[in-house]
């Protein structure tokens, strides 16, 4: 568990920053200048005093050994989390030029660590106690679940009616009716406690303004929403796996109750999506022994980065448990047995034709899937008019990049990395095209994040 051997890269540190301004401010503080009494110890704690504008320097301490990601404490008044001082301190430590020597933590850092250890201990004790007693009143829980199912059923039925009305009058009118009606229907689905339906309904509202070809996309999404409604209304007749998939797509909470799978999990990619309320962080992991690719989700309140930070290219020796649903990639992270370490593991890749076939196959278990995680081997980023594609180096087929991927700066990192030569690319492959997330050069070389 010594972190000294596993220094982080600056990229890793900066990936923790909640926003671009913090990244910049943290970069500036990543030099010896304002820091004094900085140090680190083998248990994975880094600390230091940072001179701010006031007379008293800020006390900054970071616990990098925590399995669920680093924890921070800083005496500065910033509401950003982690603050620029914590980022600067980690950069200083990552820089490795002797500014953060090994040593004994000062008392203020030691106190904080002590408190954390104790809380973690309490939580473990509580969990052990909680799991043994089980749920307090199974009968009451069953009644609650029944009431919720009834509300969802009412919501799905109402939505079916709404879709039928739309198709009766024709989609052509949808361009005029605008966004408001869909927003209202989405609110009804929220009331029905069907958050999955609500999100899909909201999507419908944005399609008529999404450019050429919108009627086809609107019909597709209406049809898949109808399929989901029908799946819910007829869930008793579905096979177990598909029924679970329907429940999770509708928005019913589930717990990751699959058996724990211990593996060496390579972090393939990590990226955030944010709306006004929530930041969602997705991390794709590849199990070197199980040859499985799984998805970890973590959340942060708006403006805050989720706590779990998994830098691309590191390997975790850890257990994960799957969420229910056939073919669902989502898992929960269980126990981590060591600190993440860099390792020269690469996922095995496939051709573009195999990637498309993999998506097609996955639709059998989950027809609502937009994409599947795939690693393409020996593909060349190739310009195609205004667009880009990933072309097989050894064939004449290619997958187009999604419009979103074309607009990102990561595209140019990928093009530059390739230089017209084959590369290995991990990404999401679906009906809109391929979204590259991470790439490796043809020869030796580290993973290059593209998102």
């Amino acid at each position: 568990m010594t972190q000294q051997g596993v220094r982080w890269s600056a990229d890793q540190v900066l990936s923790l920053a909640p926003d671009a301004a913090s990244r910049k401010a943290g970069s500036k503080l990543g030099a010896a200048g304002p820091w004094s009494e900085a140090g680190s110890c083998g248990e994975g704690t880094v600390w230091g005093l940072c001179k701010g504008s006031g007379s008293k320097p800020y006390q900054t301490v970071v616990d990098i050994a925590d399995a669920s990601g680093p924890a921070y404490k800083c005496s500065c008044p910033s509401r950003k989390f982690p603050c620029k001082h914590a980022l600067g301190l980690l950069l200083l430590w990552a820089g490795g030029d002797g500014a953060v020597p090994p040593g004994q933590p000062p008392e203020w850092a030691e106190q904080w660590m002590e408190g954390r250890r104790k809380r973690a201990e309490d939580k473990r004790t509580a969990e052990t106690a909680g799991s043994s007693s089980g749920s307090a009143d199974p009968e009451a829980a069953r009644r609650r679940a029944e009431r919720r199912a009834e509300r969802i059923t009412a919501g799905a039925t109402e939505l079916e009616q709404r879709l039928a009305d739309l198709l009766r009058g024709g989609l052509a009118g949808a361009e005029q009716t605008g966004y408001g009606q869909w927003e209202e229907t989405a609110a009804r689905m929220v009331d029905a406690q069907a958050s999955g339906l609500a999100a899909r309904v909201r999507e419908l509202g944005s399609i008529p303004a999404s450019g050429p070809g919108w009627p086809v996309r609107l019909l597709e999404e209406c049809a898949l929403l109808h399929l989901l409604d029908q799946g819910w209304l007829h869930r008793e007749g579905l096979p177990d796996g598909l029924a679970s998939t329907v429940r999770s797509r509708i928005g019913l909470p589930a717990s990751a109750d699959g058996p724990p799978v211990r593996d060496r999990w390579l972090v393939l990619a990590q990226y955030d999506t944010a709306d006004s309320r929530l930041t969602t962080r997705r991390a794709w992991l590849y199990g070197a022994e199980s040859d499985r690719t799984v998805l970890l989700l973590s959340y942060g309140a708006a403006g805050r980065a989720p706590d779990l930070a998994l830098p691309v290219g590191l390997v975790l020796d850890a257990e994960v448990s799957a969420y229910p649903g056939a073919g669902q990639p989502r898992v929960a992270l269980g126990e981590q047995f060591t600190q993440p370490v860099p390792a020269p593991i690469r996922p095995p890749g496939v051709t573009t034709a195999q990637a498309a076939a993999r998506y097609g196959k996955a639709l059998r278990d989950d027809p609502w899937l937009d994409s599947v995680p795939v690693t393409l081997d020996r593909v060349v980023p190739t310009p195609d008019g205004d667009s880009w594609q990933l072309a097989d180096a050894d064939g004449d087929t290619a997958l187009p990049l999604t419009p979103a991927a074309r607009a990102r700066p990561g595209l140019w990192r990928l093009v530059s990395l390739s230089g017209g030569a084959p590369v290995t690319v991990f990404g999401e492959c679906g009906h809109r095209g391929f979204t590259p997330l991470t790439a490796w050069p043809e020869g030796a070389g580290e993973a290059v994040p593209l998102c």
Binding site: K24, K28, A31, C222, T352, A356, Y359, T382, A391
Partner: protein, 540 residues
């Protein structure tokens, strides 16, 4: 997948189109095929569309590959060490204009260190990690001062990328010959063809490249088309002869002295006067010599100046510009040009075998000193004559070296350019020790980086004195910024004592001590960072 891939096994090729049409018009107007008309029609349409949507998606296949781009050339340079690559990524993250502003605080300004990082990486001959090229090109796009070093470091792949992204088109322009490859110097046919048919920029690049390797060949190439070139092109081409100028260029330049264009004549004359053995230089020596004499009639020998009374055809033919700029006397204008173009060796011979020092020390009658010394300065710079430059600079501690004497600061920094690096640094160090920092900025700009130890010490001592004098550090922010970039990183440890906040004296400006401590902290942390950068690049 954007329509390129095709669904397989579609039962009827137009089933989907018919569903879309029915959905657009509405089931009240159009009943989709295979669906019962009436109230059940919408649900039937959605059922069919759902099946068709999943079928279409599941049946997607990759499209056809577009024409491949010619791959980028291999970069033969060794890759950057890992730590240096991380450092570069961090330097590139710190982009200007992303917030901040105001007081600078104690943290180093990373963007200011990028030029030095690039220079060191180029000296060490490393290749960049390809994935950092986009950020590097973006940085070079925003800062023209970075371009040359950034593009040299970025290498051929950056030009390859620039062809694919119009945002980086500047990289094509900045590459010699607009990104085209110059022919081998042995390939005379290609050279001939490019010289005769190429664009102007390509021709200048070609001529400069040849001149750098084989001066005579470049001159001969130029001579083949000289008579037919346009005047402004002749001027640019002639200017390229500055590189590797030598005695055997004289006949060509003599011929250019009779050019139709006055600017071409003036440039030819300037080049000829930089050749002290040229016939033009000898003619100018006679003319200038006739204007200056030693007068022994007074108590001390004094220089007498008799400026020319007219600008004759011979003088004009040798490039002297007859018409004086507004506000200048004609005679002093002509005189300045004669002295500037005369070989400096003229003067000891003409003025009693005195050394340059002795000549410069002679008093000059009738207020001609400024004119005469300024012309000698221009001559010393043009002829790169260190002995005369030394004499004209005088001792750095001399009182007139600090004030606005006969030789301006701009001229002094040009004169310094003719001296060797160590002598230059020593002179500026002596100047700063005697006169402080207020006039030093321009002179520091011509000193080699990192500063020599005596120069560095002189600057730090002068900053320390300025602090003790109680002024605010921002009066010296220019020199402070230079020190951050130019001071030898090994000096950092000697600055430790300056980082503490000093006790406030009565006459000091309020709070100045704290700001000085902050400025010195930033200086020290910048130096430490530069030392780390150099070490990561293996340049220690």
């Amino acid at each position: 997948m954007n329509g390129t891939p095709t669904p397989v096994d579609a039962p009827a090729p137009n089933a989907w189109e018919e569903l879309v049409t029915a959905a657009l018009l509405g089931t009240e107007r159009r009943t989709p095929p295979g669906c019962p008309p009436g109230p059940e029609a919408p649900a039937a349409l959605l059922d069919a569309a759902a099946a068709e949507t999943v079928r279409r998606r599941a049946g997607l296949r990759p499209g056809r590959a577009a024409a491949r781009v010619e791959p980028a050339a291999e970069d033969p340079r060794p890759p950057l060490p890992t730590a240096a690559a991380r450092r570069l990524a961090m330097l590139l993250t710190d982009r200007p204009g992303t917030g901040g502003g105001g007081r600078r605080g104690t943290a180093p300004d990373l963007m200011e260190l990028l030029p030095q990082w690039l220079a060191t990486a180029n000296t060490q001959g490393f290749a960049p990690p390809p994935e950092l090229l986009p950020a590097l090109l973006d940085a070079a796009r925003g800062r023209t001062d970075l371009r040359q070093a950034a593009l040299a470091f970025a290498g051929a792949r950056a030009v390859w990328l620039a062809r694919l992204n119009p945002d980086w088109r500047f990289a094509l322009r900045a590459a010699p010959g607009g990104g085209m490859a110059l022919p081998h110097l042995e390939d005379t046919d290609r050279i001939r063809q490019l010289w005769e048919e190429g664009l102007f920029a390509e021709r200048v690049a070609l001529l400069s490249a040849i001149r750098a390797r084989e001066p005579a060949a470049a001159r001969e190439l130029l001579a083949t088309t000289w008579a037919t070139e346009r005047a402004e092109d002749r001027l640019m081409f002639l200017d390229s002869l500055r590189t590797g100028l030598a005695a055997d260029d004289e006949p060509f330049l003599e011929q250019a002295l009779t050019d139709r264009s006055r600017n071409v004549r003036a440039t030819a004359a300037e080049l000829l006067s930089s050749l002290p053995g040229s016939a033009l230089a000898a003619r100018m020596a006679v003319r200038a010599g006739a204007c200056v004499a030693v007068d022994h009639t007074g108590s001390t020998p004094t220089l007498l100046v008799e400026a020319p009374h007219e600008c004759d055809a011979g003088m004009e033919g040798d490039g002297v510009v007859a018409k004086a700029p507004a506000g200048r006397g004609e005679r002093s204008w002509w005189f300045g040009q004669l002295v500037e173009a005369a070989p400096l060796a003229t003067w000891p011979a003409r003025l009693g075998r005195r050394t340059p020092q002795e000549i410069v020390a002679l008093p000059v009658a009738d207020d001609w000193q400024a004119e005469l010394h300024a012309a000698w300065c221009r001559a010393a710079v043009r002829q790169r004559n260190a002995a005369w430059a030394r004499a004209l600079l005088a001792a750095p501690a001399a009182p007139e070296a600090g004030g606005p004497g006969a030789v301006s600061l701009a001229e002094r920094s040009k004169l310094l350019g003719t001296l060797g690096g160590a002598e230059r640094a020593d002179w500026v160090a002596g100047f700063i020790s005697a006169h402080g920092l207020s006039e030093a900025f321009q002179l520091l700009g011509v000193c080699a980086v990192p500063w020599s130890e005596p120069l560095g010490r002189a600057v730090v001592d002068a900053l320390n004195i300025a602090r003790d004098a109680g002024s605010y550090p921002w009066s010296f922010s220019g020199v402070m910024g230079l020190a951050e970039r130019c001071l030898d990183p090994s000096e950092a440890s000697r600055l430790d004592g300056l980082m503490a906040v000093p006790d406030e004296t009565e006459d000091a400006s309020p709070g100045a001590g704290g700001y000085w401590a902050e400025a010195f902290q930033r200086l020290v942390s910048t130096l430490r960072l530069r030392a780390a950068m150099a070490e990561e690049l293996g340049a220690v």
